[in-house]
Amino acid sequence: MSILHTVNKSAYERNALDSCLGHTKPGDSVLLIEDGVISARAGSVAGDKLAAALGETGVSIYALGADMAARGIPEDKLVDGVKVVDYAGFVDLAAENDAVEAWL
């Protein structure tokens, strides 16, 4: 059973991303939305955690493009391996996984 985890806060504001990454299983997906996308910037403390999670835990990590654009984060500044999706992609992820867990 795979889970789509959504994280909507920056890792510099709350510990939702850490909590989330501590609970993911191989095959799960993590989608960064709203201020959550701030964590996906390459070369940052949170970005390094995401890069480690991508390499070690077998999870896929996604970021919502509209929320990145609203915060001035271009795609080429993202951690390698983080995939950008739009709202239709968010819907697809929610459908493809067996459950959706919001880390509020």
């Binding site: 959504t6 909507n8 939305i33 709203e34 509209a66 739009d86 709202y87 239709a88 968010f90 819907v91 697809d92 929610a94 459908a95 459950a99 959706v100 919001a102 509020l104």
Partner: protein, 130 residues
């Protein structure tokens, strides 16, 4: 696929209602069914007909009402959350001796059981909040 949606935050204060609206719209446009959007806590403010935002701003309540009309989406406001926050339909206003109905078109007030039902009847429950 059937999606149930939970919105826990009010409009303009937090992005949750914008994110939820855009998710619901995308799901409906892809041909999925949205069984119900349940508004809980400050989320009930999404359904006030007394909201008059500046014309060049997002018309969040109106957007929900239009979506409900176009796709027949059930927009439910939690009754206990409404009572605490001054949201009333005709029945509630009469019961509490208040003079107005401020529930916008397409929304209705009902109980928390509707959230549980949505969780049971939907394939996925997606939560938006703070």
């Amino acid at each position: 696929m059937k999606f149930g949606i939970l919105v826990n935050e009010g409009p303009y204060q937090h992005q949750a209602s914008d994110s939820a609206y855009l998710f619901v719209k995308a799901a409906l446009e892809k041909g999925h069914e949205v069984t119900r959007v349940f508004f809980y806590h400050d989320g009930v403010y999404n359904g006030t007909s007394y909201s008059v935002p500046p014309l060049d701003d997002r018309q969040i309540t109106k957007q929900w009402s239009e979506l409900a009309k176009e796709y027949d989406v059930d927009l439910v406001l939690c009754v206990a959350a409404c009572q605490r926050r001054g949201m009333m339909d005709d029945g509630e206003a009469e019961r509490h001796g208040k003079g107005a109905n401020n529930v916008a078109e397409g929304f209705r007030i009902s109980g928390l059981g509707q959230l549980i039902e949505t969780g049971i009847q939907s394939d996925r429950l997606v939560t938006f909040g703070d």
